[in-house]
C-alpha cells in the first residue's frame, strides 16, 4: 500500500516540477483511496488488538483477580461468573444488544436497525468510527458490554446461584447497560457530547457507562442479597493472592486497549489516553500503598494492586481528555478515596460488597467522572468544535466550569438507572429462581454445589 502512495507522491511532485499537464483526476482519486486505505489498515490493526486486550481484561484478568480473593471452595464458581459473561453477553450482543446501543433510536435507547447484526460489515460507520470496518467497531464495543456485568459479580461473590446470576445479568444488560451506553455513546444519546446530546458528558472509555453503572449496581446487589454466611465475624480471607496479582497485572495491560482503544483509531489521542491510563494506575498504587502504610503500618500486595485498579477505573472517563499530570493527580486521589471507602467506610456501613466492586469501581468511577469535568482540555482532545470550527473549551481548566455540573448530571442519571434497573432485574430474577444458595450449598461452596467439580484436586 505504501508503495502506491509513494509512487503517487512522486507522480505529483514530478508533474508539478515539470509544469506539465494537470494531474489525471483518476490518478488523484486512486491516490486518495490509497491514503485512506493505509490509514484504515493502521487503525484497524490497533482496534483489533485493542478488542482482544479488552476481552483479556475479563478472561483471565478479572476472573483471576476475583477468584484469588475468595475461599478455595469458590474458585471455579467465581471464575465462571466472569467467563460466563464472555459467552452470554456475546449472544445478546449478536441478537440485538449492539443495535440497542448504537442504532440511532431515541435519546435513551437505540433501535433495531442492526438486529442480528444486519448491515454491520466491512463498510465503516461514519458516525462512530469512519476509518475502521463497522464490524471492528461492533466487536470492540462488545468487550465493554462483557466486562461490565462481570464486575458486578464481585459484590455478590460466594453466595449467588449460577442460574440466577445468568438471568440477572441478561436482564441487567437490557435494563442498565444498553440504555446507559446508548445515552453516552449512541447517536443522539441524551448525554452524548459529540453526537447531539442534551447534556454533554465526556466519557472517553466508560467511566460512567462501565464503572459507575457496575459499581452502583454492585452496591444494590450486595444490600439486596445480603451478607455471606459468617460475615463479618468469621475470618473470610483470600485463598490465593498470587492469582489476584496476576489478574490485576493483566487488567492493567488490558486497560490500554480499553482506554487508548477508545480513540477508535491509532491516533495521537490514543497515545494520550494510553499515557494517562498508565500514569493513573501507577499513581493509584502509590497512593493506596501510602494510605495503608499510614493507617496500618504496612503497605500490602493486595493494597498495591487494588490501588492500581482504582486508578485505572478512575481515569477511564478522562483518559483521552486529560494531560499526563492531571492523570497522576486523578490516580493519587483515586487510591486514597477508594482505600478509605473499602477499609473504613465499608466497615462502618457493614454491607458485604465482598470483592469491593462498589468501593473501587463505583466510587472510582464517580470521582473520575467529576474530575474529568475539571481536567478535560482541548489541548489533548480537539474533537469538539465550536460553530466557527475552533476546538471548544472542555473542562474547568479550559475555562468551562459548567462541565463539572454536566458530568454530575451524567453520573446522577447513570446511578439512578443502575439502582432502578438492578432492583427490577433482581426482583424479576427472584420470581423465576432463588437468588441465593441455601445454607448447606454455601457451606460446601460454589464449585461443588453449583458446578459439580473442584478447583484443586489434591489426589489427582
Amino acid at each position: 500500500m505504501s508503495n502506491r502512495v509513494f509512487a503517487g507522491l512522486l507522480l505529483l511532485s514530478s508533474s508539478a516540477l515539470a509544469q506539465g499537464p494537470p494531474v489525471d483526476r483518476a490518478e488523484l482519486r486512486a491516490l486518495q483511496a490509497a491514503v485512506a486505505a493505509s490509514q484504515s489498515a493502521g487503525d484497524n490493526a490497533w482496534m483489533l488488538v485493542s478488542s482482544a486486550l479488552v476481552l483479556m481484561m475479563t478472561g483471565p484478568g478479572l476472573a483471576l483477580f476475583y477468584c484469588g480473593l475468595v475461599r478455595k471452595k469458590n474458585v471455579l464458581g467465581t471464575m465462571m461468573q466472569s467467563f460466563a459473561m464472555m459467552a452470554l453477553i456475546t449472544m445478546l450482543w449478536a441478537v440485538c444488544g449492539y443495535s440497542l446501543v448504537f442504532g440511532t433510536g431515541n435519546a435513551f435507547i437505540g433501535d433495531l436497525r442492526y438486529l442480528f447484526l444486519r448491515g454491520v460489515g466491512a463498510e465503516p460507520n461514519a458516525l462512530y468510527a469512519p476509518t475502521i470496518p463497522h464490524q471492528t467497531f461492533m466487536i470492540y464495543q462488545l468487550m465493554f458490554a462483557i466486562i461490565t456485568p462481570a464486575l458486578i459479580a464481585g459484590a455478590f461473590a460466594e453466595r449467588v446461584r449460577f442460574r440466577a446470576m445468568m438471568l440477572f445479568s441478561t436482564l441487567w444488560a437490557f435494563f442498565v447497560y444498553f440504555p446507559a451506553a446508548h445515552m453516552v455513546w449512541g447517536n443522539g444519546g441524551f448525554l452524548n457530547a459529540f453526537l447531539g446530546g442534551k447534556y454533554p458528558v465526556f466519557d472517553f472509555a466508560g467511566g460512567t457507562v462501565v464503572h459507575i453503572t457496575s459499581g452502583f449496581s454492585a452496591l444494590v446487589t450486595a444490600l439486596y442479597i445480603g451478607k455471606r454466611a459468617g460475615y463479618p465475624h468469621e475470618k473470610i480471607v483470600p485463598h490465593n493472592l498470587v492469582l489476584s496479582f496476576i489478574g490485576a497485572c493483566l487488567l492493567w495491560v488490558g486497560w490500554f486497549g480499553f482506554n487508548a482503544g477508545s480513540a477508535l483509531a491509532a491516533s495521537s489521542v490514543a497515545t494520550s489516553a494510553f499515557v494517562a491510563t498508565h500514569f493513573a494506575a501507577a499513581a493509584g498504587a502509590v497512593s493506596w500503598m501510602a494510605a495503608e502504610r499510614i493507617r496500618n503500618g504496612k503497605a500490602s500486595a493486595l493494597g498495591a494492586i487494588s490501588g492500581a485498579v482504582a486508578g485505572l477505573a478512575t481515569v477511564t472517563q478522562g483518559a483521552g481528555f486529560v494531560q499526563p499530570f492531571s492523570a497522576v493527580l486523578i490516580g493519587l486521589i483515586a487510591g486514597a478515596v477508594c482505600f478509605f471507602m473499602v477499609s473504613v467506610a465499608k466497615e462502618k456501613l457493614r454491607y458485604d460488597d465482598s470483592l469491593d466492586a462498589f468501593g473501587v469501581h463505583g466510587v472510582g468511577g464517580l470521582v473520575g467522572c467529576l474530575l474529568t469535568g475539571v481536567f478535560a482540555t482541548r489541548a489533548v482532545n480537539s474533537a469538539l468544535k465550536l460553530a466557527n470550527g475552533q476546538p471548544a473549551a472542555l473542562g474547568w481548566i479550559d475555562g468551562n466550569p459548567v462541565q463539572v455540573l454536566h458530568q454530575l448530571i451524567g453520573a446522577g442519571i447513570g446511578i439512578g438507572l443502575a439502582v432502578a434497573g438492578t432492583l427490577a432485574a433482581l426482583r424479576i430474577t427472584e420470581l423465576v429462581t432463588p437468588l441465593r444458595m441455601n445454607e448447606r450449598e454455601e457451606a460446601s461452596g460454589m464449585d461443588l454445589s453449583l458446578h459439580g467439580e473442584e478447583g484443586y484436586n489434591f489426589e489427582a
Binding site: K73, G230, E234, S444, G452
Partner: protein, 112 residues
C-alpha cells in the same frame, strides 16, 4: 490428661474456636484432612465423566486438656459444630501419658 480429637465440617471452625475460648481452652492444633464415616461422598463430573468422591474435606482439631475437664470441653465443642445433618463429624478422646513444654521442660498439666 486426655487428648480430644474432633473431625468437623470445615465451615464450623470459627464456631468451634469461639466455644473453646468460652470454656477457657487456649491451645489447639488444626489440620486439613480428608475422610468419611457413614456419610458417603458426592458426584463430580469432568467432561461428562462421573466420579464418585468419597473422601471429603474435613478439619481435624486436636487439644489436650486435664481429665477433669473432658466432658465439659467435649460438650461445648459438639454443641458448637452440630448441624444435625449427616457429615457433622466425630469426636475421639484418648489418654495422654505425658505432656512436655519444650521451652522450659515443664511436665504434666502445667505444660498444657
Amino acid at each position: 490428661m486426655v487428648k480430644i480429637e474432633a473431625v468437623i465440617q470445615p465451615s464450623k471452625l470459627e464456631n468451634a474456636r469461639e466455644a473453646l475460648k468460652a470454656v477457657g481452652i487456649d491451645g489447639l492444633t488444626v489440620s486439613e484432612v480428608r475422610g468419611h464415616g457413614r456419610q458417603k461422598g458426592h458426584k463430580e463430573v469432568y467432561r461428562g465423566r462421573e466420579y464418585q468422591v468419597d473422601l471429603l474435606h474435613k478439619l481435624k482439631l486436636e487439644m489436650v486438656v486435664p481429665s477433669a475437664r473432658k466432658d465439659e470441653v467435649v460438650r461445648a465443642l459438639a454443641d458448637a459444630v452440630r448441624t444435625g445433618a449427616i457429615g457433622d463429624g466425630k469426636i475421639f478422646v484418648c489418654e495422654v501419658a505425658e505432656a512436655i513444654r519444650i521451652r522450659d521442660d515443664s511436665r504434666g498439666e502445667s505444660a498444657l
